[in-house]
């Protein structure tokens, strides 16, 4: 292949030096995304998914130690100068931030923010403005009224559409959506997914970070599951939701209301004291002695998938009994 992938992450490790010790936020996930590709990164809070998005933009705080490699269109992000990072963000990447209500400047009109986007991205003023108006119009917003409005005068869904329109102004190669359904009603989830898929259809690579499995189902593509900074499973989204391999993924799906709403017992790991082995071992119903000594390797699964659990084949019958007798788990060691 001559053209580099839009996004190529190899052994990305992120640690934060904090007062009470070192917090490991990411422990070396490998992820790759080609032009026109779609990757959904699923995880609970503390799984490292937001750190991942921030690391891709080179916007981690100064107490973060980053090793490994993140390449956007062949440009290395780890260790890049702030000038290089700015150029990369400006010319190739668009972030749709979490929380549409706070991602717009409360004291400026949407029109002002649209002009700022055009200026910052170094677009032609007329063409950039026309493009944003087109995007607003396509998402059912009146460009004139919307430009005149302040963020607080728009609903959450409208703010979301404004952010999406702004992010598309420069035809980015990589669009990162951080929790795009955060705080949105269920009926807006599908609409948001449709708008995101339109972005993908223009040829941009789309990385969606979410804890919302319904959004993943509506999007398709590939899904990666993060837990405690480790990549636990990666598969095409629909097979993953249908036949999850890793016990953690099974637990996530089992926790959905329509699948019985059985939450995973225990709490997410303490990132400043991760166990030496599998980060999910303390909560895993299938845990074996060797799970707690060394991090299992990723094993291929299905056509293109990977799972980080040597016992996932045995999961089926064990998980069935686990679901039948949830009381036992209350006494499981944390």
């Amino acid at each position: 292949m001559t053209t580099p992938p839009v996004l190529d992450i190899e052994d990305l490790q992120v640690r934060f030096r904090a007062r009470h010790g070192v917090v490991s936020a990411l422990r070396g996930p490998d992820l790759r995304l080609d032009a026109g590709g779609l990757l959904v990164v699923v995880g609970e809070s503390g799984s490292g998914k937001t750190v991942l998005a921030t690391a891709l933009l080179g916007m981690l705080p100064s107490n973060a130690e980053v090793t490994g490699s993140v390449q956007v269109l062949g440009n290395q992000v780890v260790g890049a100068s702030s000038r290089q990072l700015r150029a990369l963000r400006r010319d190739h990447v668009a972030l749709i931030p979490q929380g549409a209500s706070t991602a717009l400047n409360p004291v400026r009109t949407i029109g002002w923010q649209a002009r700022r986007t055009v200026r910052t991205r170094r677009l032609d003023p007329q063409q950039g403005a026309a493009r944003i108006d087109l995007e607003l119009d396509a998402s059912g917003l009146s460009p004139i009224d919307t430009r005149r409005a302040y963020p607080h005068e728009l609903s959450g869904g409208m703010q979301q559409r404004v952010l999406l329109a702004l992010s598309r102004a420069a035809d980015p190669d990589l669009v990162i959506a951080d929790e795009p359904t955060h705080g949105l009603d269920a009926d807006l989830v599908d609409a948001t997914a449709r708008r995101l898929l339109e972005v993908q259809q223009t040829g941009a690579a789309l990385l969606v970070i979410t804890h919302d499995l319904r959004l993943a189902a509506a999007l398709g593509g590939e899904t990666a599951v993060l837990y405690g900074g480790d990549l636990l499973e990666r598969q095409a989204t629909l097979p993953l939701l249908d036949r999850p391999a890793h016990p953690y993924t099974r637990g996530l799906i089992g926790a959905l209301p329509e699948r019985g709403a059985n939450p995973i017992v225990g709490s997410p790991p303490d990132l400043s004291a991760l166990p030496p082995g599998c980060s999910f071992a303390p909560r895993c119903p299938l845990v074996r002695a060797d799970c707690t000594t060394a991090l299992p390797a990723l094993e291929p699964i299905g056509e293109t998938g990977m799972v980080r659990c040597p016992y996932h084949h045995e999961a089926d019958q064990d998980m069935a009994s686990h679901a039948a007798a949830p009381e036992q788990d209350r006494h499981a060691p944390r």
Partner: protein, 322 residues
């Protein structure tokens, strides 16, 4: 918004009455006898006879009870008569105030401009270069400026700039034939010294608010689009940081007025602050009451203006255009 302005203006008389009552009570409770002080000043000797003092007290109504005196003063005030000053003998208080007002307004105005401009510049610099020697330097100076007594700073400034360097006058107003009666170079030391006493607070406030706002999602969003840190700070964070800054500016006006009493006295500035000190020392009740009331009015109006400014600047509290 009009409702807020109305409520504030309607509450103004009540505030003024309370302030007047408190000031009057304090002066009434003070061990200094206005009659004795005045007679002593007139005759140049301390031990004026009791008859002279009684005659004076009777002539000025000082033999009446405290509440009666206050009531008499209050009824006069409602007719627009603030009484007659004794510190500036025989001149109506209103006249004295109007004569002194321009100098104080000039001093307060110049100090306010210095505080606002310098605190914004220094605060933005410190926030932009957080953790660098610039930041450390600005913070150190802010703490020193805030906690150093203003009279001490004033004396230091006089010593350094007037006595040792000889660059600036130590006090006074210079050639009174200028338009305001004040030469501008006489303004530099008092205005700067007064400003420094407030500058630290304002600078640290700008710095800390900016650093808070820099963590806001929309500022991060601007940076994610490729905006520079400086650009995001000035265009996205600063307008949001300015909202509480406006309120702070209004709330700190009384401190500036209070500071002016010391600064005007040290620099011999012909303003109301200097006059207030003299009125207090010579137990000139009508004059002091009037100045304190004026300060109260300025404080209320300053806060009101700050709140109006806040509402005009923040689109969330402003009625949206239809």
């Amino acid at each position: 918004m009009w409702r807020m302005i109305g409520v504030r203006l309607l509450s103004l008389p009540a505030i003024m009455l309370a302030v007047a009552l408190l000031t009057f009570a304090l002066m009434w409770a003070s061990p200094y006898d206005p009659a004795a002080t005045y007679v002593a000043a007139l005759t140049g000797q301390d031990g004026a006879s009791q008859e002279v003092r009684d005659a004076y007290a009777a002539a000025w109504g000082l033999d009446a009870s405290g509440p009666q005196q206050f009531w008499a003063w209050l009824t006069n005030v409602t007719r627009g008569d603030l009484g007659i000053s004794r510190e500036v003998p025989g001149v109506p208080v209103t006249r004295v105030l109007l004569d002194r007002l321009p100098a104080t307004v000039l001093l307060l105005g110049a100090s306010t401009v210095i505080v606002l401009v310098l605190s914004l510049v220094l605060g933005v610099l410190a926030a932009r270069f957080r953790g660098s020697p610039i930041d450390t330097g600005v913070r150190m100076l802010s703490y020193v400026g805030t906690f150093a007594p203003s009279f001490w700073l004033a004396l230091l400034a006089v010593y350094f700039f007037a006595i040792w360097g000889g660059w600036l006058p130590a006090g006074g107003t210079g050639d009174v034939r200028t338009e305001t009666g004040i030469e501008l170079r006489y303004l530099i030391l008092p205005a700067t010294t007064l400003a420094i006493s407030q500058l630290g607070w304002f600078t640290l406030f700008v710095r800390d608010t900016l650093l808070d706002r820099m963590r806001d999602d929309h500022v991060r969003f601007a940076e994610a689009q490729g905006a520079s840190r400086t650009g995001a700070l000035i265009r996205s964070a600063l307008p949001n940081a300015l909202l509480p800054y406006v309120t702070l500016a209004g709330a700190h006006l009384p401190e500036l007025i209070g500071g002016a009493i010391l600064i005007e006295s040290i620099f011999g500035w012909p303003g109301l602050g200097n006059l207030a000190r003299r009125a207090a020392v010579s137990v000139d009740v009508p004059l002091l009451l009037a100045i304190v009331l004026g300060g109260a009015v300025l404080t209320v109006l300053g806060n009101l203006l700050a709140d109006i400014g806040y509402r005009l600047l923040d689109p969330r509290t402003r009625r949206s255009p239809a």
